[in-house]
Amino acid sequence: MHEENDDILEQVTTSEYKYGFVTDIEADEAPRGLSEDTVRFISAKKNEPEWMLQNRLKAYRHWLTMEEPKWPNVSYPAINYQDIIYYSAPKQKIAPDSLDDIDPELRKTFDKLGISLNEQKRLTGIAVDAVIDSVSVATTFKEELSKVGVIFCSMSEAIQEHPELIKKYLGSVVPATDNFFTALNAAVFSDGSFCYIPKGVRCPMELSTYFRINAANTGQFERTLIVAEDESYVSYLEGCTAPMRDENQLHAAVVELVAMEKAEIKYSTVQNWYPGDKEGKGGIYNFVTKRGICAGNYSKISWTQVETGSSITWKYPSVILKGDHSTGEFYSVAVTNNCQQADTGTKMIHLGKNTKSRIVSKGISAGRSHNSYRGLVDVAKNASNARNFSQCDSLLLGDRCGAHTFPYIEVKNNTAMVEHEATTSKIGEDQIFYCNQRGIDTETAVALIINGFAKEVMNQLPMEFAVEAQKLLAISLEGSVG
């Protein structure tokens, strides 16, 4: 059994990352390195208004005064910020007026990834904003969405077309000064998605952004902003992949969510950036700040994430529960294999009265990887009757990996009820043998056990994503039992 499992582990860990191809497209790039000139270059490329440039420069100057955080439970060689290309856009002959004008090479790339930019063929009814390197190349179903007043477009377009909304909300949840990477992002972000759901509208389809890093030596710094007005609802999906490259690439995104009274935002991520090879060479540094604010009473924000990629993941999708009776949820499956490192979790900040939060974190570690849950539940002085339930489970495959849990609880109101449960388990040979005896081979058995372990989180995903995510879990880990 040991030997057989080792064999399967070997096979799995040597199996190719399916999305590792490079598309040969001409790119329009900024000179390598970061300076005020780079910031001005990006802003000029995007034809931005002066106020946006000033915001960027302010963020850049602030960034210069900051230091990279050292507290995450991850280790990596120092990043040379002067060695990164901060802007890379696929060269298109003309700006596409319609989806039909998109460069065929680009279209092929997305076809290969299983993402159709062709609205007619798209039966599942998901609107997609496709972002490659630094720019958004296409947004589908725009017209249909605009009929109900939903704005769904690239961030560049939003800055041009909806400056009043951008001025009001961009940086309102995650200010540029929040941390080292948000300051960097605010200075050099090049694109991303903007989504606005007007009062009383239930968004008629799932919205999604698909991120693809293609060019070498570039960083991707995108920015997502979702605003849901009173009594509106939106479900948003985010997916991402990158080519296999020997060097590490930095991805430092910022996502902001604003939910007004009785509004609900459901944000799901399936993160599958290139994780590096089995010796830990290459892979994406995924340093992301995601935060939502339940600004209105009875509002709700729910984060669901399935994290399987990246050589290092460092992110804490959080909710500020400002409105009374508001609800924050965080459902997470983080998988690490080989030399991957993940330090992820959430912050639930209870400010309003009768606020509720729920945290379900499932960490799966294999190979020589390290997987940490880090979470904060903060109940402010005036947040009476706050409720939190946290559950953090870890599953170990093999005996060379590590699982760590760092729960922080700060309660300043004595009516709060905060519960925390944690378990750590190993896939047992008994479980595998039991499955084998029923005619189920070891690979299928491991996939079955893993999906069982992660079920509570997977159930939160929209159907189209859940199937993909299940397969992804199986591919990332199947058979890696020792």
Binding site: M1, H2, G428, D430, Q431, F433, Y434, C435, N436, Q437, R438, G439, I440, D441, T442, T444, L448, I449, N451, G452, F453, A454, K455, E456
Partner: protein
């Protein structure tokens, strides 16, 4: 159907099976009895292919194939079933989903199309009656939080669903009260047929009141030391294992 010749096996350095000989024909029910530590459960595990045990000698032929050459999952797909003494729990995997996976893996092996949900449910409904198992139990995670009796009934239910040619029941009676024992035994009896065989491993005679064996074998110290009909089980019940031990020691001396 099953022919075991001079089977020897050990775990780490400890020799447990010291030359087992046993032949089982289609339609027969064989009981293996013996005191604790005699090697009963080891025999069941070795036949199912648990690799904690190392086979050091002998051969096992199952339906014309060298059983010891097959992986545990292929043994299962060839028609060998083990009802576990301690069924394991798999959190988050519903019992129904688990059994459906198992049934369809076997069908794939036989070159058959997988059952769709409707076909599967129909068969499941029929077999549920056999072991008086409740639908609600089957939608729960596999064996998680099941009582001892529920776990054993679930084993027999899986056996009914997988329709093995040879079923090995490893101390299925342990931890069962008399009602559960009757239900489990009933399930087994209804599955008896002229082309199926059973190997019932038990410490106590009482299970054999319900599942009446054609042959009874006594395992002691890694060998089958007595074989007979169901009367042998009754004799053991009356005289205890010490009588067998004493006889065997005398023969060896």
């Amino acid at each position: 159907m099953l022919k075991i010749v001079n089977l020897q096996a050990r775990i780490e350095e400890k020799e447990i099976l010291k030359g087992i000989n046993l032949e089982i024909k289609p339609g027969e029910v064989h009981a293996i009895m013996g005191p604790n530590g005699s090697g009963k459960s080891t025999l069941a595990s070795v036949l199912a292919g648990r690799e904690d045990y190392e086979v050091t000698g002998g051969s096992v032929n199952f339906l014309g194939k060298d059983l010891l050459e097959l992986s545990p999952e292929d043994r299962a797909k060839e028609g060998l079933f083990l009802a576990f003494q301690y069924p394991v729990e798999i959190p988050g995997v519903s019992t129904t989903n688990f059994i459906k996976t198992a049934v369809n893996e076997k069908r794939k092996y036989q070159g058959l199309e997988p059952l769709d949900a409707a076909q599967f449910l129909k068969i499941m409904k029929e077999k549920m009656k056999l072991v008086e198992i409740d639908q609600s139990l089957l939608s729960r995670s596999l064996n998680e939080g099941f009582s001892g009796g529920e776990k054993k009934r679930n084993e027999i239910f899986q056996m009914a669903m997988l329709e093995p040619k040879l079923a090995i029941l490893d101390e299925t009676d342990s931890g069962l009260d008399i009602d559960a024992l009757r239900i489990v035994a009933n399930g087994v009896n209804q599955l008896r047929s002229k082309d199926k065989a059973f190997l019932v491993v038990t410490h106590y005679q009482r299970l054999l009141d319900y599942i009446v064996p054609d042959f009874v074998h006594v395992l002691y110290n890694g060998r089958i030391v007595r074989s007979g009909t169901k009367e042998l089980a009754l004799e053991l019940e009356e005289k205890g294992y010490d009588f067998i031990k004493a006889e065997v020691e005398k023969e060896l001396a």
